[in-house]
């Protein structure tokens, strides 16, 4: 394993931008911007995978990079535009539970929490790239989950879910640089299937209810 300081610095930069895109997905007002931020985030994940691939001399990571480019930056936007076109290009503001400043405040708390969660793991094994990727990946994961919680509409919730996935893989490329190929391929199938299933479901909800504000669906309650 080479510990080139240049690669390390580049990965740190990528990680910082990765976290920014996660924050952006929490805060944006429009669906299209959300989708573009997600594509950008996936690109940054790819860059990190390539950097680590060079540093660790791992072919697996180049495969991860190729799969990420193919599925997350090309296939998913295409699928979403096909299945839920009017949702993606709608130019209205996304309904949300919390206003943007308070959302960002909570998001900052979640980033700190991510470092608290990741810290004990870093103490056990000191691999330089893990120090960058693991806490940032966990932070992006938390922010994605938070996005699902504050968004009331279907497509933004789906993008939050995919952002969580991105976060897991951002940590994953550093902690398991040699994941079996079969697992990578399976993951490559998984993400488009999630998009397809959730996208089709969104379409049916829209056709049946005339809205995709899934946060307002509340007929199933106790009492």
């Amino acid at each position: 394993m080479s510990n080139s300081p240049v690669l390390f610095a580049l990965d740190a930069l990528t990680g910082a931008l990765f976290l920014l895109t996660a924050l952006g997905i929490v805060a944006t007002r429009q669906v299209l911007a959300s989708l573009q931020l997600f594509v950008l985030q996936s690109l940054l994940l790819t860059i990190s995978a390539v950097l680590l691939g060079i540093a660790e001399q791992s072919v697996h990571l180049f495969a991860v990079a190729a799969i990420t480019i193919a599925t997350k930056t090309l296939l998913i936007p295409w699928l979403l535009r096909r299945i839920v076109r009017e949702e993606v290009y709608g130019t209205r503001e996304i309904e949300r539970v919390l206003n943007i400043p308070s959302s960002l405040l909570i998001a900052a708390g979640l980033i700190i929490l991510a470092y608290v969660v990741a810290n004990p793991l870093l103490g056990a094994i000191a691999v330089p790239f893990v120090r960058i990727n693991l806490p940032l990946g966990v932070a992006a994961m938390f922010l994605g989950a938070f996005t699902i919680a504050v968004r009331r509409e279907a497509v933004p919730q789906l993008l939050g879910l995919l952002a969580v996935e991105n976060g897991v893989f951002f940590a994953g490329v550093a902690i398991v640089p040699n994941l079996p190929v079969i697992a990578e391929l399976a993951a490559a199938v998984d993400v488009p299937v999630i998009t397809l299933v959730v996208g089709m479901l969104t379409r049916r909800i829209h056709a049946r209810l005339g809205t995709t504000a899934v946060g307002q669906l509340a007929s199933l309650r106790e009492g």
């Binding site: 040699n178 697992a183 999630i194 899934v214």
Partner: protein, 481 residues
């Protein structure tokens, strides 16, 4: 060979269902396919009970006692639910939605396939994919009725359980990281148990928690259970039987698999977590029972309760408690699927899922009334049913190991839950109806399902055949007890 067959047959049945002739033949073909799968599963389980381990197709597919038990239960409910679907789905899709019948059977077979794959796949990463697919393949089955409520339930189901699965994925990646440090090459359960003592505890611990919380969402542990009563009450009854009876158990199986991995690691104790999550689930489910209004929802809460009981049993530790857990898994899967079949018949007859609108069922639809009563007693844990026996075994094991408080809390909650369930069912069956309702005719296949499902339901509470007992033993020892 059998193991590969078990995975191949549902795939073929699923492809067949999509053909244009599938409209008429998808149902019988699915029933035949699931019957063959059940036969193969019985053979595999018998071998696992005898030898403790069935390995096939090299390093990809394998099945030990615990895996075989889950496999057997999935295959059994997969078969009975297929028989139930025949009449039930034809009845509920009468109004010109013929194309959706083909889609139903296509997805039905794939959904069952994904659940069968979970206990069979040797590679842990692939198993994660199978668990993830159980959600994605059943999403449209949950929303099959196309009502606003069903779609709402399907949405919550997909988003929350997928989120949980992704959280668990991070746990599995950390586990893989640890196993690499410990020098383990193939990422299998057997290998993990072997490598666990050499893994750094700092990795094992967060991995365990991520998986417990992530997959716990899909099992329906409180407080991650909020989607469960919705999905399990809005899906068609045949799908509810699969979701509640075996899907939850399949995911719980993965968590139980972790127990020996974490158990052998120095300086870790997973038991308090199992007992804590388990008791919380039982307690909250019991409270929700009391003022539940929808009887399918009531059975859904009962699933939360039972998953909690099984988790507590695993957490109590020891061979005896684990045997109780294995028996509880078996009893629950059979009784809960039976309950949902009974609930399905009641819904067909009465056209409502509300407890308040079903009164005097014993006069308007005696079959549904008897089924609900039997199912209620079986699931609430009255003698002579299996759940009663397994709960006694668990209590006894807990007392023997001196964990009096846990056993006392569990016993009180179980008794309250029993009373609440039977009170609701009693009102539905014997209550005085305001106006006489003439229940619709119950399809033949639904009646047949009740009979098929009742056979093991009645038998295993009274008499456990020796091969099944050996299988339960093998399953308990795979849990590390």
């Amino acid at each position: 060979m059998e193991l590969a067959g078990i995975l191949l047959i549902p795939l073929l049945a699923s492809a067949f269902s999509l053909l244009p002739i599938g409209r008429r033949f998808a149902a019988p073909v699915t029933i035949i396919a699931s019957a063959i799968v059940l036969g193969l599963a019985v053979a595999v389980a018998a071998e696992a009970a005898r030898t403790g381990q069935v390995a096939a197709s090299g390093e990809w597919l394998t099945c030990d006692g615990l895996g075989a038990l889950i496999l057997l239960l999935v295959a059994f409910v997969g078969f009975t639910a297929a028989v139930f679907s025949w009449g039930y789905i034809a009845e509920s899709a009468k109004h010109g939605r013929r194309k959706s019948i083909r889609l139903y059977y296509c997805l039905y077979n794939l959904f069952v396939l994904s659940m069968l794959a979970v206990p069979l796949l040797a590679n842990v990463a692939l198993m994660w994919i199978a668990v993830e697919l159980t959600t994605l393949l059943s999403a449209f089955l949950v929303g099959f009725d196309d009502t606003p409520e069903a779609l709402e339930a399907a949405w919550k189901y997909v988003i929350l359980t997928t989120l949980g699965a992704v959280l668990a994925l991070l746990g599995f990646l950390i586990l893989y990281w640890g196993s690499r440090i410990a020098g383990l090459e193939p990422f299998t359960w057997v290998g993990l148990v072997e490598a666990a003592p050499r893994m750094p505890a700092a990795l094992l611990w967060p991995a365990f928690l991520f998986i417990l919380v992530g997959f716990g969402t899909k099992v329906g542990f409180v407080p991650m259970h909020t989607w469960l009563p919705d999905a399990h009450s809005q899906a068609p009854a045949s799908i509810c039987a699969l979701l509640s009876g075996v899907e939850t158990t399949t995911v719980l199986y993965v968590i139980l698999r972790l127990f020996p991995v974490v158990g052998v690691a120095p300086g870790l104790d997973a038991r308090p977590w199992f007992i804590g999550f388990g008791l919380l689930s039982v307690a909250v489910a019991t409270l929700l029972f009391i003022h539940v209004r929808d009887f399918k929802r009531m059975f859904a809460f009962s699933t939360v309760e039972h998953m909690g009981i099984i988790l507590v049993a695993a957490g109590l530790g020891g061979a005896e408690a684990h045997l109780g857990a294995a028996f509880q898994i078996t009893g629950h899967a059979i009784a809960k699927s039976f309950c949902f079949f009974a609930a399905g018949i009641t819904v067909l007859g009465m056209g409502s899922q509300e407890i308040a609108s079903v009164r005097g069922l014993v006069r308007s639809s005696p079959l549904a009334a008897i089924a609900l009563l039997v199912g209620g007693f079986a699931i609430a844990g009255a003698p002579p049913f299996a759940v009663f026996v397994s709960e006694l075994v668990i209590f006894k094991a807990g007392l023997a190991s001196g964990q009096y408080l846990v056993v006392a809390a569990l016993a009180v909650l179980v008794v309250i839950a029993f009373c609440a369930v039977m009170l609701h069912i009693n009102r539905m069956v014997f209550g005085v109806a305001e106006n006489e309702i003439h229940a619709a005719i119950v399809p033949m296949s639904c009646k047949a399902t009740l009979l098929l499902s009742a056979i093991p339901l009645v038998i295993i509470g009274i008499y456990v055949p020796p091969p099944l007992y050996n299988l339960l033993k093998a399953a308990a020892s795979a849990m590390g007890g």
